[in-house]
């Protein structure tokens, strides 16, 4: 039996692939979502100072939505821990 086929018989490549894909999407996704939340919060402060209330409300909405995604990620993490 070659080394590759031996490894193939031991490692569940489907499971490994899912793990790598989920880890990449979750890892990059949560950082991106939190960055957007910070961007939204920073823009909200900036626009409010300049008196542009509509733009400020839009930025706040972006921040809240992005933060909700992050909170959902945390809740999902807790569920994984408990399951």
């Amino acid at each position: 039996m070659s080394a590759l086929s031996l490894i193939g018989s031991i490692v569940d490549w489907g499971e490994l692939g899912l793990t790598v894909a989920a880890a990449t999407i979750a890892g990059v996704g949560i950082t991106a979502a939190f960055s957007v939340a910070i961007l939204g919060a920073a823009q909200f402060g900036e626009q409010r100072r300049q008196g542009e209330m509509v733009a400020a409300a839009g930025a706040a909405l972006v921040a809240v939505v992005a933060l909700t995604v992050c909170v959902a990620g945390i809740v999902f993490g807790l569920i994984v821990m408990l399951s």
Partner: protein, 366 residues
């Protein structure tokens, strides 16, 4: 107290000692980036991590009574084998802590048990495919995935917030680090305290204090494992914290969050899909990736290389120490005398080191 009860007491004490070293060895995984970016003061960070480690130990009680069972023949596992395996893991944890190198406590424990089993029952009791699937492949996957995720995450992060005023951005990422660090500490308490609970349960089953199936984990096992890992975490492995926090690269708050947030996501995603990865290797890989994503030359590759060497050596080194420990115990027969002699010798060495430090007025390092 008969011989088997004495061995049981020694194994439980050694398992809790391993749990303690596991705690202080892995404190860095949770707090190093937060301390480095000043998201939290050092003492508050370790206290926070210790409390969440303690709580995490109570969250889930899917105790792994199968510790190393896919790697060695379960029939070959005796209390003395477990003891020798624990000694191998403790020694390797202490050696890597001394050199400030983050390494996997799980791999050290599996290595120690494999080495002791090899001497106790021969090569037929070792499952090579289990070692490949449980240690070698995850050891390749964990840092590689975390490195790539950490690098992509920081590039995207800089693209999104790069043109904002640094003050609010830094404060935002520091806040995020507190949350992601808390999540990591909970996950660490849940996973790693269960390892110790599993070892103690295994010893209780081997000495007929628990049935082999349908048992409930005694409360004292859960409480003592939770306390040991929390105390270890609170002690803080400062040498490893320095390596992870500042020696690999000097990170800003965004990099700290990318490494830690991406790390937490990678660990939990891998647990969800049943392919658990080493917390230490994931966070170390994430820290390196968040540095390399900004600029390749930002990472001190010499330090990173030393860490990788420690990862490669973890399994064989712990196996060697576990094998030697088992060999020494057998000199004194199959009873409790061997483990007792090794324990007394270990405590004596520890007492001498502490006494010399106290005499010279040097601080006892953590």
């Amino acid at each position: 107290m008969d011989s088997s009860e004495l061995i049981l007491v020694i194994v439980v004490g050694t398992a809790l000692a391993f749990d303690f070293t596991n705690g202080f060895h892995d404190t860095a995984n949770v707090v190093a980036t937060s301390i480095s970016t000043r998201a939290m003061a050092p003492r508050i960070a370790v206290a926070f991590a210790a409390v969440l480690n303690f709580v995490g130990a109570f969250i889930s009680l899917e105790v792994a009574a199968t510790v190393a069972s896919d790697v060695v023949d379960p029939e070959a596992i005796t209390t003395t084998v477990i003891f020798a395996g624990l000694v191998g893991a403790i020694c390797w944890n202490l050696i890597t802590w001394y050199f400030g190198l983050p390494s996997s406590s799980s791999h050290a424990l599996i290595g120690g048990v494999v080495g002791a089993t090899f001497v106790a029952a021969g090569v037929d009791a070792i499952f090579g495919d289990g070692i490949l699937g449980k240690v070698l492949i995850p050891a390749l996957v964990a840092p590689t995935v975390a490195f790539i995720v950490g690098a992509i995450a920081i590039v995207i992060c800089y693209r999104i917030v790069g043109r904002q005023r640094p003050g609010p951005v830094t404060n935002g990422f520091r806040g995020g680090q507190v949350v992601s660090g808390g999540l990591l500490a909970l996950a660490h308490g849940t996973n790693d305290a269960q390892k110790t609970m599993g070892v103690i349960v295994l010893a209780l089953i081997a000495t007929d204090h628990l049935p082999a199936s349908g048992f409930e984990v005694p409360f004292w096992v859960v409480a003592s494992a939770a306390t040991a890992i929390a105390l270890g975490t609170y002690t803080g492995g400062w040498r490893i914290i320095r390596t992870m926090g500042t020696r690999i690269h000097k990170m800003d708050a965004a990099q700290g969050f990318s490494a830690q947030g991406a790390g937490a996501a990678v660990i939990l995603a891998s647990s969800h899909y049943g392919f658990p990865l080493s917390t230490t290797q994931v966070i170390s890989g994430g820290v390196m990736g968040s540095g390399a994503g900004k600029r390749l030359s930002a990472v001190r590759w010499g330090v990173a290389g030393n860490i990788v060497v420690a990862w490669i050596l973890t399994f064989p080194a712990a196996a060697l120490i576990g094998a030697a420990t088992y060999g020494v115990t057998r000199i004194f027969g199959t009873g409790a005398l061997g483990p007792l002699v090794v324990t007394v010798a270990g405590l004596a060495i520890l007492a001498v080191v502490v006494a010399r430090r106290l005499r010279t007025g040097a601080p006892i390092p953590a």
